[in-house]
């Protein structure tokens, strides 16, 4: 146990001290914050600047609570025209009967002005119209867009973190094998401690990344007001994503260590890792596809099949309400897969890591003891 923790701690302190790690963390944090603020800066809540010439201001704010409405008044139509053409105002209401705009009016603003105008006139005439009550008899679709967006972001995040950490594991294994330091290491720690310590250490770094992203993202979303659009259950979703990251990472990182232990030079890492990176990519693409159709058969079936479940179950969890037992069953299947991969990976690693030189064949390693 001691050996395992010492190895893990070395991985963490070594990586944290590199410039690359801190810069990477900073860049992701900034990126996440930028993404959270983007809707406000670009799309943002709509804002209208309106003018009046010899008219009452219409109660637009009551009809469109999300919009920001500012009013200005002009002495005459000419002054109003100039302001419209200069782009100072979006539209000007003249004498309560006519609206001046530069080109076609913004359709939403047009509908808004028309209906509020009618309502005010009718109200003045003593007619009151109760607003229509909207009622959905289907699923709650209020948060559909937000949910789909969150699912896409999650999948991308899981993919990038898994890929990044898994490559780090591979490079670390080859560093130790190629520099032959592994022989001294294995004379003091057991192979599973060396392998496990590396995987745990780099996994903790991945978690630090993930938590940073989650915290920065949530904080930025609160500040920017984006969080108001979030569906309920975000904390649960984040907890789920952490668990799925750990499971997915354990699966891929163990395989990565096994594959990497077959080669002795950094230049050979990417080629020996190709099958594994392909598997991660395929998992990502399928998961990305299912963000469009999170309730479809493909998503439902693959959300139980390791290692696809590591990315697809989070998509389903983000996009719809998934019963707890389904999440549990899928996690159990993944845990079994992780255990199988651990025993396979440890065997390959143990047999291959001391055999430096030419690239080994997986089949040969499994056959000979």
């Amino acid at each position: 146990m001691n050996g395992l923790m010492l190895v893990a701690r070395r991985e963490i302190t070594t990586q944290i001290r590199t410039k690359g790690f801190l810069i990477g963390l900073l860049v992701t944090a900034l990126l996440v914050a930028a993404v959270s603020f983007a809707p406000k800066i670009f799309g943002g809540p709509t804002s209208y600047t309106l003018g009046t010439v010899n008219s009452q201001q219409l109660p637009l704010q009551a009809a469109a609570p999300d919009a920001e409405v500012t009013w200005r008044s002009f002495p005459d139509e000419n002054a109003a025209k100039q302001a419209v053409l200069a782009g100072d105002v979006d539209a000007v209401l003249v004498n309560g009967v006519k609206v001046l705009t530069d080109g076609e009016i913004d359709p939403q603003l047009g509908v808004l002005l028309q209906s509020v105008n009618k309502e005010t006139k009718l109200g003045a005439a003593g007619v009151s119209i109760p607003p229509l009550q909207m009622q959905s008899v289907g699923a709650d679709t209020r948060y559909e867009a937000a949910r789909a967006g969150i699912a896409v972001v999650l999948v991308l995040l899981l993919f990038m973190l898994l890929m990044g950490q898994v490559m780090m594991v591979a490079m670390g294994v080859v560093e130790e094998k190629g520099s032959r330091i592994v022989e001294i290491l294995l004379s003091t720690v057991r192979p599973w401690q060396l392998l496990g310590g590396k995987i745990i250490g780099l996994g903790v770094l991945g978690l630090i990344n993930l938590v940073t992203i989650a915290v920065v993202g949530l904080a930025a979303a609160m500040v920017s007001g984006l969080a108001a659009d979030f569906p309920p259950g975000i904390p649960g979703l984040l907890a789920g994503v952490l668990v799925w990251f750990i499971l997915g990472y354990a699966f891929f990182a163990t395989l990565s260590a096994a594959f990497a232990s077959l080669v002795s030079r950094q230049e050979e890492v990417s080629s020996v890792m190709t099958p594994l990176t392909m598997l991660i990519m395929v998992t990502y693409f399928v998961a990305f596809y299912t963000t469009n159709d999170a309730t479809g058969t493909l998503a439902t079936v693959l959300s139980y099949v390791p290692p696809f479940s590591a990315m697809i179950m989070p998509v389903r969890m983000a996009a719809t309400e998934v019963p707890l037992w389904q999440v549990g069953a899928s996690m159990a299947a993944m845990v079994v897969a992780v255990l199988a991969v651990l025993s396979f990976g440890a065997t390959v690693y143990q047999r291959a890591v001391l055999r430096t030189g030419a690239r080994l064949k997986l089949g040969d390693v499994l056959r000979t003891r």
């Binding site: 032959r180 022989e183 004379s187 003091t188």
Partner: protein, 298 residues
């Protein structure tokens, strides 16, 4: 006492050796505390394989290794120091941190590891370089760090695979002194080497291995006695045929004739030589380790 008995190891065959390759065919020897044991043999004889098995890095097919009467496990090996034939350090890690890390892996506490590291750095003259990355060190200094990694936990047993290879004469002396110190402290030291004069100078006992078998073990004196002394006579410009009928072999270099023999009547030989010419040298000589080695593996 470190006892190695009847180790056997066969490597699985590759395309070039389908039947597999027998690397060790019954290797056995023992080393007492405070004894320096030289392990010699041609390339491919099985030295590295033997040491790897002792260190638990490889598993033997059969045979056993025991230390102080107990068979070796991970816990015992934690207190061993090892320098593999293929050196290796974390190139980007700082010198002191690296040594400390290995101290911790060998079971030292944080404070102990730090103190042991500081002491070693001081003794090896690396104190100024303690915060530098290993890759910025000269090869000689990297070798010292490698030694420090093997010594940091004050090992009970030292196993070094060709520790002198690639060292300049001054570094050889420094390493020899360091090993002798440990040895005097009661640590059994095993090292392999091709530098037989060095082995002869340093070691209390020697094991000669050839093709996976021990062909000779014992103290250098025992091996010499077994090999037998030889008589060497050098005569300048002797009359032709002076050595006819004498045992041994004559080699001629210029006008100097050298007779070397392991038997015969030395007084008779001396008389004949003096009669034949000018005797420049007459003496009993002990065989060198090189001669013993060549004889043993022949």
């Amino acid at each position: 006492m470190l006892e190695i008995s009847d180790l056997r190891k066969r490597f699985a065959g590759g395309p070039d050796a389908p039947g597999g390759k027998v690397a060790l065919d019954g290797i056995g020897f023992s080393v007492r505390p405070g004894e320096m044991f030289g392990f010699v043999g041609a390339n491919g004889a099985g030295k590295t394989t033997t040491m790897r098995i002792v260190m638990g890095v490889l598993q033997a097919d059969s045979g056993s290794v025991s230390w102080q009467g107990r068979s070796l496990g991970y816990d015992e090996r934690q207190r061993f120091g090892y320098m593999p034939e293929e050196r290796g350090l974390y190139q980007k890690m700082r010198v002191a941190e690296q040594i400390e890390y290995f101290g911790r892996l060998h079971g030292l506490g944080p404070a102990e590891a730090k103190k042991a590291t500081d002491d070693l750095l001081e003794r090896l003259g690396l104190t100024e370089r303690r915060s530098d990355a290993v890759q910025t060190l000269s090869l000689g200094n990297q070798q010292r760090v490698q030694l420090a990694v093997a010594l940091v936990h004050d090992p009970e047993v030292l196993i070094l695979d060709e520790p002198f290879s690639g060292l300049d004469p001054i570094a050889v002396d420094a390493l020899a002194t360091a090993l002798q110190e440990r040895c005097r402290g009661g640590v059994p030291v095993i090292f392999s080497s091709h530098q037989l004069e060095l082995v002869e100078r340093l070691c209390d006992s020697v094991g000669i291995v050839s093709a996976g078998r021990m062909v000779a073990t014992g103290t250098v004196a025992d091996l010499r006695a077994a090999e037998g002394n030889s008589l060497r006579v050098v005569v300048r410009d002797p009359s032709p045929g002076w050595a006819d009928g004498l045992p041994g072999e004559v080699t001629v270099f210029g006008d100097r004739h050298t007779l070397r023999t392991e038997g015969g009547d030395d007084q008779e030989i001396l008389r004949r030589a003096m009669k034949a010419g000018h005797v420049e040298h007459f003496g009993i000589e002990q065989p060198t380790l090189t001669e013993i080695f060549k004889e043993a593996v022949a």
